[in-house]
Assembly symmetry: C2
Homo-oligomer: 260 residues x 2
Amino acid sequence: MTHCPDDLIALAHRLAEAGGAAARRYYRTPVAVDTKADESPVTIADREAESAIRAILALERPEDGIIGEEHGRERTGASHVWVIDPIDGTKSFLAGRPIFGTLIALFRDGVPILGLIDQPIVHDRWLGAAGRQTTLNGAPCQIRPCPALADAVLATTAPDIFSAAELTRFATLQRATRRTMYGGDCYNYGLMAAGFLDIVLESSMQPHDWAALVPVVEGAGGSISDWSGAPLRLESGRGDVLASGDRRCHAAALELLAEG
Amino acid sequence: MTHCPDDLIALAHRLAEAGGAAARRYYRTPVAVDTKADESPVTIADREAESAIRAILALERPEDGIIGEEHGRERTGASHVWVIDPIDGTKSFLAGRPIFGTLIALFRDGVPILGLIDQPIVHDRWLGAAGRQTTLNGAPCQIRPCPALADAVLATTAPDIFSAAELTRFATLQRATRRTMYGGDCYNYGLMAAGFLDIVLESSMQPHDWAALVPVVEGAGGSISDWSGAPLRLESGRGDVLASGDRRCHAAALELLAEG
């Protein structure tokens, strides 16, 4: 079984510190907002956070690949590839909501072996690593049982992320669950890994959005896949993500999504 | 001009402390969830937080009226009436998101003269009081200029709160603004009062949901009304709320809502 070495975990923590420091510097200050090609906002905080993370990787892991949301791809054919979203939830960051996150993932030979979600204002940090149980601020955490969809709390960041066809399938799942929460970005997946939510459904995700979530969710006993149940892949080009705490919820949700 | 006395402000802070302590006790613990007649969830944390607030009022202001979300109405004909939502955003509370809030409002002769929004995990506290500028954690705060709807960031807790007719009007406003954020409950109004959001549109609000928001928003230079532009009234029976930072946004949004 694959295992994530301690030194890479320690490095991931330092990367998160560096990214979080940049985010804190600009949190609740009036920063200029640029709009990217996909219409999403970006600020100096996103760019400086990613630059700070890349500076450490350049020094300590110069041969590793990097896929970053703001500064692009380097050496993606390397055995180790870091996938970075310096501020996931830039809209929340800009609005002064302390539920955005810095996402750090590490792939080894195409397999995600480490994922870290850091909320640098509240100081919540989830770490998922191959061969270990997911931790929240150092304490082991796990998903909660939820045998029936009818009892599940569903979360999604915004209905606007869905295409019309996806919205129909989301609505089908929503009707089958107990209640729906909106907003939250990466934070929802961490809360699910800690047993406070049952299902997260999203689409239009990029690898930097989901890569860190995989080890966090799986290491807490949860499931994460695309809407067809297939594993998320760096090069698949798909952006649909379903994550569930209880695997019975995951199976039932996949069934509904297939019908919808 | 009406003015809110210092001793009542000091009391409101103590009420928030008491409510927040109860909320913190149960935050991210597995609490049992009951479902109320309106389908909204309620927990022991909501009930204990309101009981703690009412115990202080019973000692210090036994002649004042109280309207509380969980424990009902008393002496609503009194000159001073406290309106309490011990945990606004119970769904966020249950999911472990630190963006719920304790809401404390005081009406004098039917006019809201004090409003307090407290987030007891992050320790964000907004205070609005008649005759004073709104503060966030003791520092004066104010709305940001946003002359044009096209530049406005819109927030709403969930599209599910809207009726079909309201959803059409929400969509009209959404199309006219820059971007939309979901989730957030009372926290959105505080962030708007601090200049990080421009418009909040909601419906299905009860007096305990909106009462504290009025002095906070108005004391920061913002506007808050129903969707027709009329002031929010304890006994109106309406639950539609539009709040805007820049009054030009408020006027333009009201115009669109009237057409929609």
